[in-house]
């Protein structure tokens, strides 16, 4: 009886969980309190403060060959803060290092007013002190040139409350992972047959000192079916199917399992393909998802305009390399530079498919998302921007700021469409390629329809290297999977054991023909130019691109490691 009484009394005394409306009120009050009271002697003024509160339900399950391996489900609540001291022309941000005015803190699953106020208090205090010191570091090391575009585009505020998106249950996620993985065969033909399902639903609240007050929906479901098969020479081949969709847009469980079965069957078939014997230089056709990966690797980085931070010269090397006082402050993006053939265009509009996980109407910084015409007649005329100014983009942000909580957002691709001036059928694309191939003395050309995914390959026990389209010397293409020699009689001869060498961004300028439009989606690394280390972490991104014929690329043989081949025959059901 005593225990029961204590429970009842305790329930009455416990702080109540606050509503989203109360969350916004608390954040607004805390912004005012900190802006008024947070000041250090001789420190520059705190001129901008922004909170972001993520309030998600997360669920994740991993299954292999029909059995669950891992499963977890929990709320995810976190607070992000952006503290700017100085003024928009020169503040603590856009300078290398990690104490840059951005911070984050996990929040209790049951968020009370006291817990939220304490989190604001702790996080704002520490981030403010870091911002003041970062301002001094930057001031001491960097004198802005006369045409320095400043550090922040101030004066933008927005408010609105958008509908909440219902979430998935843990049981649903488990069922989906388990049932999809039953599609993988239990005949010993695969070394890996794993499905990961991860869902995240909830809301994102943005409150800032300029009056912004937003509550935005968030919904993401990632399903990755991944398979590995081993060829007789020891080569590992991997493939995957990925879905980034709303829950109600997913195929049925039966269809997903069937899709996994087809994936596995095709992958095992590819292990039987002969290997490339000699180096190949000549025309290459990119079809299906290979075309998406080509543009992802070679084009996307050239359209993202947020300048990298000014480097902080640490004793172990510069943090934030890439800034150039002489140029426009970016290594990847260049205005007025040809990136595609004449007559081609590219535009990014995060609103184009409203229920896609890559879609948003308001970006991370609270700016309305816009369609941006990036490339016209093959030349870059516009860049994707956040509220970090850039001298050659005077209009400032165009609503493409993306990034992870507690870091500096940057202008990033969300839903990009590349449009050629003219399309031909696949048949004509092939014909054109074969004509070009003759000039190189080939009776065939190379056709690639699918690349492997580095994060999927890394699921191997040996842990394959993860490059994510960036090598030491610039962009790279991952190992091809669906690769053919295409002959003039239409015969497609499968090959494997090949890798693209010395791929350069200028390859896109060498596109000589475009075919049908294809669609693909992927998870982009949170940091521009960064790498993904997990198959389920990143920012959903969608591309619509044409299948293309590139005039000249180089393909080299890759030898397999025979030691990787299992000694013991795989078990069977």
């Amino acid at each position: 009886m005593t225990a029961l009484l204590a429970l009842v009394v305790g329930s009455v005394l416990a702080d109540p969980v606050i509503t989203h409306e109360q969350q916004r009120a608390v954040l607004t009050e805390e912004i005012a309190r900190h802006q008024q009271q947070l000041t250090l002697p001789e420190a520059p003024p705190l001129y901008h403060l922004r909170y972001q509160l993520l309030d998600f339900e997360q669920a994740q399950a991993r299954a292999s060959f029909g059995s669950l391996v891992l499963t977890e489900s929990s709320p995810f609540l976190a607070l992000g803060v952006e503290v700017r001291v100085g003024d928009p022309a020169f503040d603590n941000t856009n300078y290398g290092g990690w104490e840059s005015g951005f911070g984050r803190l996990g929040l209790p699953h049951q968020l009370t007013e006291r817990a939220l106020r304490q989190a604001c208090w702790q996080l704002t205090d520490s981030t403010y002190k870091e911002a003041v010191e970062q301002y001094a570091r930057k001031k001491a090391a960097f004198t802005p040139p006369p045409d320095y575009p400043g550090d922040f585009q101030a004066g933008l505020s927005r408010d609105g409350i958008y509908d909440h998106v219902p979430g998935a249950t843990e049981a649903w996620v488990q069922d989906l992972a388990r049932s999809t993985s039953t599609g993988f065969p239990t005949d010993g033909s695969l070394e890996l047959g794993t499905v990961i399902v991860a869902t995240e639903q909830g809301s994102r609240t943005v409150i800032d000192s300029e009056g912004t007050s937003l509550q935005l929906p968030h919904s993401e479901i990632i399903l990755r079916a991944m398979a590995h098969a081993r060829a007789d020479d020891g080569a590992l081949l991997s493939d995957h199917h990925s879905w980034l969709l709303r829950i109600d847009q997913l195929p049925s469980q039966e269809d997903l399992a069937a899709s996994a079965a087809v994936l596995a069957k095709d992958l095992v078939t590819w292990t039987q393909a002969p290997t490339l014997e000699d180096e190949y230089v000549g025309p290459v056709i990119f079809e299906d998802e290979a075309a998406v990966d080509l543009f992802r690797a070679l084009l996307v980085g050239q359209l993202e305009g947020t300048p990298p931070p000014i480097p902080f010269e640490a004793r172990f090397g510069a943090l934030g390399e890439g800034f150039s006082l002489a140029g426009d402050g970016s290594t990847g993006a260049r205005l007025n530079r040809r990136v595609l053939p004449a007559g081609w265009s590219a535009a990014d509009d995060p609103r184009v498919e409203p229920f896609h996980p890559a879609s948003f109407v308001i970006d991370t910084e609270g700016t309305l998302a816009q369609r941006v015409d990036l490339v016209q007649d093959g030349i870059v005329r516009n860049l994707l921007m956040s509220r970090v100014p850039r001298k050659d983009m005077p209009a400032g942000t165009n609503g493409h700021a993306r990034g992870s909580l507690g870091t500096r957002p940057a202008g990033r691709v969300a839903m990009l469409e590349v449009t050629p001036n003219r399309r031909v059928s696949r048949r004509k694309l092939h014909k054109k390629a074969l004509e070009l191939g003759k000039a190189y003395g080939h009776d065939h050309v190379i056709l690639v329809r699918r690349f492997q995914d580095d994060t999927v390959r890394a699921q191997d026990r040996s842990g394959a290297s993860v490059y994510d389209f960036l090598g030491d010397d610039g962009p790279r293409l991952p190992p091809p999977l669906v690769l053919y020699k295409l002959y003039s009689d239409g015969r497609e001869e499968p090959i494997r054991g090949a890798s693209f060498a010395r791929v350069d961004r200028s390859a896109l300028r060498d596109i000589v023909a475009a075919g049908p439009q294809v669609y693909g989606r992927y998870l982009a690394p949170f940091e521009p130019g960064g790498a993904n280390f997990s198959p389920i972490v990143g920012m959903p991104t969608a591309l619509w691109v044409p299948e293309v014929l590139v005039e000249e690329l180089e393909l080299v043989p890759v030898s397999a490691d025979p030691r990787s081949k299992p000694a013991v025959p795989a078990p069977t059901q």
């Binding site: 947070l38 292999s64 070394e191």
Partner: protein, 564 residues
């Protein structure tokens, strides 16, 4: 021949074989047949599956921080090619030592019907271990050939008679909702002071079942429950010191968990001590007599002696081998005995973290005598023998993904001659006066410690003091200080122990070393040490928060519930 024979050993209680064990058995037999055919069979292989079910509830500042349930299973493979005298696991020297370790964390399916997913995972890992071992034994032999003889040549492995013991292991649970409420109230109590910056009350219930099979015929199913409840409060002092006070209790069954009132008392103690510490002065470097409370003395022995009597270390030419030549010779005063006994479940009314039935090499836990009447008698041994200690004493331990090595379990210090705490304190003051000092130090509580046993870095220890008092020779009240740690080197420190108390203290914790993190206990009476050195603890540089801590809203100030 032995390797071939041991494969024929058949477990005696087949009726109790679980589906998991059956898969391990069958996959082991199938793989061994292939390895035989390939002409390079391992002379010993063990497979074990650890099923782990864990619940963790954390509360902070009067609300629920997190509640996580986790159910996972891990596979471990110990595959040895060559012979017990020299096998593929032999430590390598020089560049060859940079080879990747074969042991790794392998997640297994947690559903076993059908068993193909489990079978597939076991096959893949076992096969990979064999291929690695085939390469490694070649390198081991070459490495042995080109390098000088090791300082202490010894076999790599001890073969054993099989053990068959399949225990019923039930997984325990608690009333999550009730415990969530309790922890919320405890965290509220911790948070109820403007100078406490962060507070946390946490409960962890961990159930574990291990299924072990090997080519010698050992078949084990064992495991148990581990419950831990604790509180912590932290704050930044005005001088930048990051202070944290933690209190926890460990149990081997959930029915031992404390009442809410006990936890509230614990929270108040931690909170009040933290606030007192914030105002306490920082100590100074010190050399002089010290009284170590029981828990502090227990950690002192864990760091100073325990890690140096882990037998496998004697095989490494890089190790300091402090006590190797001291076997049979006194290293401590004659009134002290030390043994490590993982078979003890509780002592002095406290459950012990270091309790286990079988070690991670399938060997029954045993009491290992280390020091008898001050004389060093032996080492903690895994199945990696030493020339004079060829047998394991059941101390081969590891955490997931690591290879086992000899580790502590329940390290127990006993004194045959003891005095009361008051007498010890009087003796401390005598020593202070004898040495012409103003004060001595009394270390009541410690947070843990670390030690370095290698040869490049100083062979020293650091015991992380939390609650330390100056005990004044002139009779002033004891004064709480902060910011100092107890440091020294083992041989000198042991030579300075002069008396032991009659008040054994139990330290339950988790110890990290080469084979990972393992739960341990250390038990010791309080000790008077004639001379110990203290050094300044590291200090933070951040100011405390500039604005006052937000007040808690009064109860009932808002409508409960809301849209969540």
């Amino acid at each position: 021949m032995l390797a071939h024979l041991v494969l024929l050993v058949i477990p005696t209680t087949l009726a109790q074989v679980s589906p998991i064990e059956a898969v391990l058995d069958q996959e082991l037999a199938r793989a061994m047949a292939t390895f035989e055919q390939r002409g390079e069979p391992p002379y010993y292989t063990a497979l074990s599956i650890e099923e782990n079910q864990k619940t963790r509830i954390v509360a902070t500042a009067g609300t629920l921080q997190s509640h996580n349930d986790q159910h996972v299973a891990f596979l471990d493979v110990d595959l040895r090619l060559g012979s017990p005298d020299l096998d593929s696991t032999h430590p390598l020297r020089g560049m060859s030592s940079l080879r990747e370790e074969a042991r790794r964390t392998v997640n297994l399916p947690i559903e076993h019907d059908p068993d193909y997913p489990l079978r597939h995972a076991v096959w893949k890992e076992l096969d990979a271990h064999w291929r690695d071992a085939v390469e490694r034994i070649v390198v081991v032999r070459a490495n042995k050939n080109v390098k000088v003889e090791e300082e202490l040549p010894a076999p790599d492995f001890e073969l054993r008679e099989p053990t068959v013991d399949r225990q019923e292991v039930s997984f325990e649970t608690v009333d999550d909702a009730a415990w969530t409420e309790i922890l919320i109230r405890v965290s509220d109590r911790l948070d109820a002071h403007p100078r406490v910056h962060r507070s946390r009350a946490a409960l962890t219930i961990e159930n574990e079942r291990e299924t072990f099979v090997d080519t010698e015929g050992t078949r084990l199913v064992h495991g148990g429950t581990w419950a831990r409840v604790g509180v912590s409060a932290s704050a930044t002092a005005d001088d930048g010191d990051e202070l944290s006070i933690s209190r926890s209790m460990s149990f081997r069954a959930v029915d031992g968990l404390p009442s809410e009132q006990e936890l509230l008392d614990l929270a108040e103690q931690a909170r009040d001590l933290l606030v007192a510490q914030l105002d306490a002065p920082r100590g100074q470097p010190y050399r002089g007599p010290v009284l170590l409370g029981g828990k502090a003395a227990a950690v002192f022995f864990h760091e100073v002696l325990g890690h140096r009597v882990e037998g496998h270390r004697m095989k490494f030419d890089s190790d300091g081998k402090t006590f190797l030549e001291y076997v049979g010779r006194p290293i401590l005063p004659p009134f002290l005995d030390i043994y490590d006994d993982p078979t003890i479940r509780s002592l002095s009314g406290e459950d012990l973290n270091g309790f286990y039935a079988y070690d991670d090499e399938g060997v029954p836990a045993q009491r290992a005598l280390v020091v008898d009447d001050g004389v060093l008698r032996g080492f903690l041994m895994s199945r990696s023998p030493l020339p004079d200690f060829p047998h394991t004493n059941g101390h081969g331990r590891r955490s997931t993904g690591k290879a086992p090595s000899s580790r502590m379990g329940n390290t127990i210090v006993e004194a045959s001659e003891t005095v009361s705490h008051d007498k010890l304190r009087a003796m401390l003051l005598d020593k202070v006066r004898d040495q012409g000092l103003e004060y001595g130090l009394y270390v009541e509580e410690i947070a843990g410690g670390f030690t370095m046993t290698g040869r490049i870095m100083p062979n020293s220890f650091n015991v992380r003091a939390v609650t330390t008092y100056k005990v004044w020779a002139d009779g002033r009240p004891d004064e709480l200080i902060r910011g100092v740690d107890l440091v020294g080197t083992p041989l000198v420190a042991f030579g300075n122990i002069v008396a032991a108390g009659d008040d054994p203290g139990v330290f339950n914790g988790t110890c990290g070393a080469g084979s990972g993190w393992v739960p341990v206990s250390a038990i010791s009476p309080s000790l008077l040490v004639e001379q110990v050195e203290f050094q300044l603890k590291e200090k933070g540089a951040d100011r405390p928060p500039m604005l006052p801590k937000p007040d808690a809203p009064p109860p009932g100030a808002q409508a409960a519930g809301g849209e969540r």
